[in-house]
């Protein structure tokens, strides 16, 4: 019965989910014995509103190749509006990530309700496949390996920005 899936690269996916909707949706996928790639590690939060963008950066820095943030559907938040705050926060955060050159395909946001075991499987499978095709995320790992920043303003862009102040 055990079959080994042979892939050259197994991405590491970290999922930040809320307890009430997505965590419960993932539980449902389990009780329904649905199958999905074993690459995902789930971190549970009371609400997506609790998820600090820093956690996402931290995850990439720790070697995640893809990050998933998932909570209740708009309007269904257990805490009334936490997911709206999260949505607003992440809209801005995505821009920042884009600016610093992270391929946004590595970061996925989704709404998965407690009744959507199937959707959880779909979202996780899609993200895993997508990130697998993209290959390992090296940018942040390289950054993490680099020495601390020297404090020298040496790129032309930074110089220009600095002089403009």
């Amino acid at each position: 019965m055990n079959h080994t899936t042979q892939h050259s690269f197994e991405p590491k996916i970290i999922a930040f989910v809320c307890t009430w909707c997505t965590y419960a949706g993932a539980d449902l996928a389990g009780t329904s014995r649905m199958q999905y790639p074993a690459n995902v590690r789930v971190l549970k939060f009371p609400c997506t509103g609790r998820i600090d963008p820093v956690f996402i950066l931290k995850a990439f820095q720790q070697g995640a190749d893809g990050v998933l943030v998932s909570g209740c559907h708009p309007g269904d938040c257990h805490y009334i509006a936490g997911n709206f705050h999260a949505r607003r926060r992440f809209a801005a955060f995505r821009k920042l990530l884009e600016f610093i050159g992270v391929d946004l395909n590595r970061l996925q946001f989704s709404w998965v309700s407690a009744a959507e075991g199937g959707k959880w499987v779909e979202v996780v499978t899609d993200l895993t496949e997508k990130v697998r095709a993209m290959g390992p995320m090296v940018e942040f790992k390289e950054l993490a390996l680099e020495e601390q920043w020297s404090g020298v303003i040496d790129t032309p862009e930074l110089k220009e920005a600095y002089n403009a102040i």
Binding site: I14, R50, F55
Partner: protein
């Protein structure tokens, strides 16, 4: 140094079939900080829990991780077991290796590696867990009910019958609300007064109910279980304790031509008055704007005739403070005014319908007063302009409601039914009359409702015209109503004697101000918002505050009463305990670092964040910081992710705990 105990469950074979549990236990055993690691067939079983408790004591464990099913399944079980063994329950975490691992993967190697990761993550997390005390707050077992319509009355009676004291605050001089104004009620056509007044009297006589009429809420402080409410008792000019309700004053008052709001201004009252004969309490009140004494300093006839000497021109507004543990808001609705476009109303006006200019264009509530046996016409349907009986009457539904371009997109819900009722009452009273109804759709869900509506057509001969009215105007003593019948595709023109508009149900004026005092939320129309549309329909998001009746959205009487009883049940659930115990997953502010930007306060949907002054020993203000009230905080953590100075922390989900988990990967 922590001594963590890790317990890997086989769950029969549910986990062990795809996860090599022994290998997981062995690998985790090597993890720094782990003092004890084992696997067992059924951790949740009695012997499983005993194994856990024994290990805690014998191995002197400081933290526990149970790797088994979802925490949504057994977190409570294991935390209880841990507590029984003498550890703080929040030093125990579960690693979900069943729903999130063994059940969703087939490959043993992959599943085992994942399980080791999951357990490792939880081990790192639990190291950072802190002892959390259970939070308890005392409960004052007295309830405040705001609004004395049928909703407030029902809620107050239910709570009081259960033995708890109730403070009922009503803005008007009498309780009763709109239901007291109705003639007969759908779907059974029983007389509203007959079913309403006994309940009003019950309220007045109930030893557990303290009634404040002609009063308003001034200030609400505190939180669930512990509210302090300041009530303003407006001056009545009549001493309630002395007044016997004989009514002599009213017969002698020279001001007799003041339009009575209770009769929709078609009946008249005196300056010292009770709004209607069955008013509760039946103590009169002086309308100071219209009283000769207050205007000119002369008269005082009422004072002279009052036997017990109850009339008191000197009376002042006064404030009383009541301590309560729960609040039921039941402030009901108002009708969109056709007389003049109300200020601040989202509706853009209905000038084309005569808008208060044509006296015989009235609203539904005015029709109720005309049809009421105790109304100004004694129950006869007569035109306000000349007192003649209308032989042709036109009812127009959806005035204001369901007209996005006019301002309101919702359905007022009761108009289809009360218009059907009006056609019946009309037919019962004016046998040779003809009723026409312009309607968009007939919306009659509800027990015996559709049958009732059909009866108005099939037995009471009302003519229903599907379509809207484009214009109406006065022609001699007739009102010409022009509209279209979209079912047949023709224009219709009716020369009517009277027109009744089913105007939109809106929240009470001042609903927003009251909401701000209570700290509850409302929608763009100012209807109050429930915590969850489906699962918590009678609770506000603000703990300890409940909703009943039409203040939450248009409702008929059966629905209003159901919700009121449900709200009462919620209050009684709260009052069933002396102390409130709650999960200590609440946010805490690090005051030293807080800069008082109150970004947290803005995002908190529960109003849990307060402003706290920090003073030095001399009492000089140093700074104002945020303070999270643990009785109110729901534990979502949105404030923490928002705080720019990282000074709010959600217990149980601290940055430390989460970063530790991420770093474990």
């Amino acid at each position: 140094m922590s001594r963590i105990g890790v317990f890997i469950c086989h769950c029969g074979e549910n986990i062990s079939r795809t996860v090599d549990v022994e290998r997981v236990a062995a690998e985790i055993g090597k993890h720094p900080g782990v003092a004890f690691s084992t696997d067992y067939k059924y951790m949740c079983s009695d012997p499983g829990q005993t194994l856990l408790k024994k290990a805690i004591q014998e191995q002197k464990l400081t933290h526990v991780v149970v790797a088994a099913c979802s925490p949504r399944m057994h977190e409570k079980t294991f935390r209880k077991a841990v507590e029984a063994a003498g550890l703080n329950p929040f030093l125990c975490e579960m690693a979900n290796i069943r729903e999130h691992c063994s059940w969703v993967h087939e490959n043993m190697e992959e599943a085992t590696v994942k399980a080791i990761d999951i357990v490792g993550m939880m081990v790192e997390r639990v190291k950072k867990n802190r002892v959390l005390p259970t939070i308890t707050v005392p409960v004052t077992k007295r309830a405040l009910v705001i609004g004395g319509g049928i909703a407030g009355i029902q809620a107050a009676l239910d709570i009081a019958d259960c033995g708890h004291e109730v403070i009922l605050v009503e803005r008007e001089p009498s309780i009763g609300g709109h239901m007291a104004q109705l003639s007969e009620t759908f779907p059974t056509l029983d007389c509203s007064q007959c079913i309403m007044t006994p309940k009003m009297v019950d309220v007045a006589n109930h030893p557990k109910i303290k009634l404040y009429t002609h009063s308003e809420i001034e200030l609400v402080e505190g939180y669930i279980g512990n509210f302090q409410v300041t009530i303003k008792k407006k001056a009545r000019s009549v001493d309630e304790d002395k007044c016997t309700g004989c009514g002599v004053c009213m017969t002698k008052c020279p001001q007799k031509k003041i339009p009575n709001k209770f009769d929709q201004n078609i009946g008249m009252r005196t300056a010292i008055y009770v709004p209607f004969p069955q008013a509760v309490p039946n103590t009169p009140v002086i309308d100071r704007d219209n009283c000769t004494w207050f205007k000119t300093g002369k008269c005082s006839v009422c004072q002279k005739v009052c036997g017990p000497g109850a009339v008191d021109f000197e009376q002042q507004d006064c404030l009383v403070v009541e301590a309560v543990g729960a609040i039921v808001v039941a402030t009901g609705f108002d009708l969109y005014s056709i007389a003049e476009k109300p200020k601040g109303s989202p509706i853009k006006g209905y000038g084309e319908f005569g808008h208060g200019k044509i006296p015989d264009v009235i609203d539904g509530m005015t029709f109720e007063r005309l049809a009421s046996a105790s109304g100004p016409t004694g129950g006869k349907i007569l035109r306000p302009s000349d007192g003649k009986e209308p032989k042709q009457i036109v009812f127009i539904q959806c005035i204001g409601s369901r007209a996005r371009e006019k301002g309101i997109s919702y359905c007022s819900k009761v108009c289809c039914m009360y218009t059907a009722k009006h056609t019946m009452l009309y037919h019962h009273k004016v046998h040779d009359g003809q009723a026409y109804v312009f309607f968009m759709d007939a919306r009659t869900p509800g027990k015996s409702y559709d049958e009732f509506w059909r009866r108005s057509i099939e037995e009471e001969e009302a003519v229903y015209i599907r379509g809207m009215v484009s214009r109406l105007y006065q022609k001699g003593d007739k009102i010409v109503v022009m509209g279209s019948d979209i079912a047949v595709g023709v224009q219709v023109e009716i020369e009517a004697d009277m027109v009744v508009l089913a105007t939109a149900i809106q929240p009470q004026k001042g609903a927003d101000t009251l909401a701000q005092k209570l700290g509850i939320s409302y929608d763009k129309y100012h209807f109050y918002s429930e915590a969850h549309a489906k699962l918590r329909p009678v609770e506000c998001a603000t703990a300890g505050i409940y909703l009943a009746g039409a203040c939450q959205g248009p409702k008929d009487i059966p629905e209003t009463v159901s919700q009121a009883s449900a709200a009462a049940a919620k209050v009684m659930t709260l009052f069933s305990r002396d102390k409130l115990e709650r999960e200590p997953i609440v946010a805490r502010v690090r005051e030293a670092g807080c800069v008082g930007c109150f970004a947290c306060k803005k995002v908190c949907a529960y109003g849990a964040v307060e402003e706290k002054e920090i003073r030095d020993r001399q009492g000089n203000l140093i700074k104002v910081v945020a303070y999270v009230n643990p009785g109110v905080c729901a534990g979502c953590g949105t404030c923490q992710a928002t705080c720019p100075s990282k000074c709010v922390e959600l217990d149980g989900y601290t940055d430390e705990q989460i970063i530790a988990m991420i770093e474990a990967l």
